[in-house]
């Protein structure tokens, strides 16, 4: 049976801790921060956390693959390969759209979240927000 030792700070963690103490203390008042995080005091550019909508990507991608799969076949020039090209367009549109749809549906209502290491949590917390 492995005995769990208490986690120790690595050098990275220690550095982050020092950085953290340089900042003003974060208390419960920070909870009222809007999801769009403010610019970091340290001037490090990082992506802001945004709420992702579901409807907008669905509309965009449905339109995109719909154009390729439904409207595209009308523009294929006449020739001996017309049938093959139309087949390819429709099949590509269906396969790729379905694949993207499955990916986004699987993440729509997650039942559990990611399990992160404490260092990752430190890092992400300070450098992504």
């Amino acid at each position: 049976v492995r005995v769990r030792r208490p986690a120790r700070l690595t050098t990275l963690g220690a550095r982050l801790l020092r950085m953290r103490s340089a900042l003003p203390s974060r208390g419960p008042e920070n909870l009222q921060r809007p999801p769009l995080g403010p610019a970091s005091r340290l001037g490090i550019p990082r992506p802001a956390m945004t709420a992702h909508s579901f409807a907008l990507p669905v509309i965009i991608f449905t339109t995109f693959w719909g154009l390729i799969g439904i409207a595209g076949p009308w523009f294929v020039p006449k020739g001996p390969n017309r049938g093959v090209i139309i087949t390819m367009l429709v099949a590509t549109a269906v396969c790729c759209y379905l694949f993207w749809l499955i990916a986004i549906l699987a993440q729509l209502n997650p039942l559990f979240g990611p399990q992160l290491k404490n260092e990752t949590i430190w890092y992400v917390r300070f450098l992504w927000e």
Binding site: P35, C95, L98, L111, Q115, V124
Partner: protein, 755 residues
């Protein structure tokens, strides 16, 4: 959808070729690659056919060609590939080609023989010169010193009566690895009566036959006594040594030898120059002659498959020809027979056999059609799955591969091959591995392209995730709301974000998998579940598509009953069970959220219970009345199984019985009509296997066995394959130059492959 949707219409065409023009017509047809001959003389052995003599002559010529080719390769030269269009020569030219090749072969043999002899001679001379030139000085010096008169005995003979003791010499050369053995044997056999000295030559000489350099050992044996001399001769014979006469007047001898060897070398030089000339002529003559003779042989083999008409004026051939090419066929026949002043005729006849499957492809579609044909060639006019595989094969590969960086590398490699595909260096490469890659360049191109797309969805570029969009999971919100102070974090190595906490999960990542998962320790838990469900969905979609493709077959062949008896039950079975599973998956994705994650229903348990008609109390239902719905679906699906197994056979049995009950007069009439067809194919009583299952309304059709129907269920997504034709001559346009080879190919008549 062009010609790739289903195979082309192929007609049975009967050709009447007047004997005078038969050869040219068949040669012309071979060049065009329009037809495939049927063997009308299947019962006749190869040795009894009409044109066996001509075929034999061609084969003799080919033997000579092989000999010439070997000689050219032995000389280290390369045969250039044949250039230009080389049609099969008319029969009278065969004699000319035969004479030329015979002459060249004879010359080559003579010259080679001469060269060998000269080289052996030269070798001997060189050895001789070397032996004489070797300074075996101590021995000679001894003789000179002591041998004022050759009669002086070397030894103080105790007896005195040995008056004729003379020193004799044996000089020669022996191969270096035999020298020690020779020395030892000489010493053991003639000890005391000889003095042998062995010296190695300074420079190696070439072996006349093999050309390997070998450093010979020269020896000089001085002995006295006749018997010793005989013994020495025998021993040296045994060791295959070259013995040369040894005289004291060396210098003149050596000069003579030098001159001789010089002359010989000049002659040898001339011979070799002549040899290279002959080889040059062979190089010029051989490649086109090889192609021509091969074509001629193919034409005769094709002619062997034709039967002679009763008046012996005409050859009758039966060929399969694409209906689209019939005008071209007639024009070709007309043109080639016009030269002889006769006219060849082609007309279409109805056939009972299933025609071969013909699908025209270009260099892009050829590789995909090849992959599909490897699983089995489709029946005549069956729906061809190849155009769909152009996308689905690379797509399914990409689902498994899924990396932007690696996909991009694959795409660029394939793009390089595609852009350089017309360079002659590409096609001439002999490396098999390279040929495999080059042949599949379009497949690799598409696989790379789709892999880039799926790599973006999986969010993997060289196995690293990238945040194109900001992540939908907020660590800060979780940390703040759960009170994750630094001390708390220092104590716990692993912490999980909880989507139930407000603000932690901000929405699904718009394109692909969220990058936070690449940082997570439990990313496999999420990804495995996602990928398994994705595989099920993709698989069910593909299978349903395959079943739907079968509908086109049933409509085309006029087998409407199969729509009701096969397609509908199959769709019910598939969608009722696995389509329902897909429904469960999507329903759970949409309706079950983190709020009741602890009691989230397990689809796997539900699915198992569905088949076992059991119930797990801990697993809550996804929707009300779920058990009732599932029970109904299982019963319905299981009820479809006997319909699938027995539906079509019973229907056909019923139809067969109904036809039998019709008045017999009608049956006789049909039979007579069949036999009395004026244009009936000479070879219409082909294999039974080919006819069975082809057309449903055969008079004497046996009822199909249940086995066929069971297999047909499994074969829904793949076309039924029966080998009616192997590489029809039109499978790809770039193979025109090998048209005659396909013309002469014999088509196996009976090949019924079952899965």
């Amino acid at each position: 959808m062009g010609s790739m949707f289903r195979s082309e219409e192929v007609a049975l065409v009967q050709l009447f070729l007047p004997t005078a023009a038969a050869y040219t017509c068949v040669s012309r047809l071979g060049e065009l690659g329009l037809v495939e001959f049927r063997d009308l003389n299947a019962s006749v052995s190869a040795f009894q056919r009409r044109f066996v003599v001509d075929v034999r002559r061609c084969e003799e010529l080919e033997k000579t060609f092989t000999f010439l080719q070997e000689e050219v390769q032995r000389a280290g030269l390369v045969l250039p590939p044949p250039e230009g269009r080389l049609p099969a020569p008319p029969p009278r030219d065969l004699l000319r080609i035969q004479e030329e090749t015979e002459r060249l072969a004879q010359e080559l043999r003579d010259v080679r023989g001469n060269q060998q002899a000269l080289r052996v001679q030269l070798h001997q001379l060189q050895l001789h010169a070397a032996v004489l030139g070797q300074g075996h000085s101590p021995q000679l010096a001894a003789t000179h010193t002591y041998g004022a008169s050759e009669r002086t005995p070397l030894l103080q003979a105790p007896g005195g009566p040995h008056q004729d003791l003379r020193v004799n010499f044996v000089a020669g050369a022996v191969e270096p690895h035999k020298a020690p053995a020779l020395e030892r044997l000489l010493w053991r056999a003639c000890r005391g009566f000889l003095i042998a000295s062995f010296r190695e030559l300074e420079r190696p000489l070439e072996h006349p036959v093999t050309g390997e350099p070998a450093t010979w050992m020269t020896f000089l044996i001085s002995y006295w006594g006749e018997q010793i001399g005989q013994k020495i001769r025998k021993i040296t014979d045994c060791f295959h040594c070259h013995i040369f006469p040894f005289l004291e007047q060396e210098e003149a001898r050596r000069a003579a030898l030098q001159q001789q060897s010089q002359e010989l070398q000049e002659v040898l030089g001339e011979t070799e120059r002549f040899l290279s000339q002959v080889l040059g002529r062979v190089q010029q003559l051989l490649p086109p002659a090889q192609v021509q003779v091969r074509k001629m042989k193919a034409v005769y083999l094709a002619l062997n498959q034709c039967s002679m008409s009763t008046t012996h004026k005409c050859l009758i051939a039966e060929t399969w020809c694409a209906a689209r090419d019939l005008p071209a066929l007639q024009e070709a026949l007309r043109d080639s027979s016009m030269e002889e002043g006769v006219s060849a005729v082609a007309h279409r006849i109805p056939s009972r056999d299933m025609p071969p499957t013909l699908i025209r492809t270009n260099r892009f579609t050829a590789s995909f059609q090849g992959i599909v044909d490897a699983y089995g060639v489709g029946r005549y006019q069956e729906v061809n799955p190849a155009p769909y595989t152009i996308v689905t094969f690379p797509f399914l590969f990409a689902v498994m591969f899924g990396d932007v960086g690696h996909g991009l590398l694959m795409f660029l490699f394939a793009l390089a091959m595609v852009l350089a595909e017309n360079r002659p260096a590409m096609k001439a490469a002999q490396n098999e591995i390279w040929q495999t890659f080059f042949g599949g360049r379009y497949l690799l191109l598409l696989m790379g392209l789709f892999s880039v797309y799926t790599g973006f969805i999986y969010n993997e570029c060289f196995s690293r995730a990238s945040s194109i969009f900001p992540s939908g999971w907020s660590v800060a919100a979780m940390a703040n709301q759960s009170g994750w102070s630094d001390a708390f974090l220092a104590q716990h190595t692993m912490l999980t974000l909880d989507p139930n906490v407000t603000g932690v999960f901000l929405g699904p990542y718009p394109f692909g998998i969220d990058p936070i998962w690449s940082l997570a320790a439990n990313h496999l838990s999420f990804l495995n579940s996602f990928k398994m469900k994705m595989s099920v969905i993709l698989g069910v979609v593909h299978m349903a598509f395959g079943v739907v493709l079968g509908v086109f077959n049933h409509m085309h062949f006029g087998q409407r009953h199969r729509l009701l008896l096969e397609t509908l039950p199959e769709l019910t079975f598939l969608l009722g069970l696995f389509g329902y599973l897909v429904f469960l998956v999507i329903y759970k994705w949409l309706r079950v959220s983190a709020t009741n994650a602890a009691s989230a229903p397990s689809i796997l348990i539900h699915f198992i219970n569905m088949f076992l008609f059991s119930h797990s109390p801990t697993n809550r239902p996804l929707y009300p009345r779920q058990e009732v719905v599932q029970a109904m679906l299982v019963v319905l699906a299981l009820a479809m199984v006997p319909v699938l197994l027995l539906g079509t056979p019973l229907h056909l049995l019923h139809r067969h019985r109904r036809r039998r009950r019709r008045p017999t007069g009608r049956k006789q009439e049909d039979k007579a009509g069949l036999l009395g067809l004026p244009d009936a194919s000479v070879n219409c009583w082909g294999s039974d296997e080919e006819k069975a299952g082809g057309l449903e309304d055969e008079q004497e059709a046996e009822e199909p066995t249940v086995n066929v129907q069971v297999e047909s269920f499994h074969r829904r997504t793949q076309p039924v394959h029966r080998h009616c034709s192997q590489e029809t001559c039109l499978s790809s346009i770039p193979r025109r130059s090998l048209g005659p080879l396909a013309v002469g190919h014999r088509q196996p008549l009976t090949q019924f492959l079952s899965l």
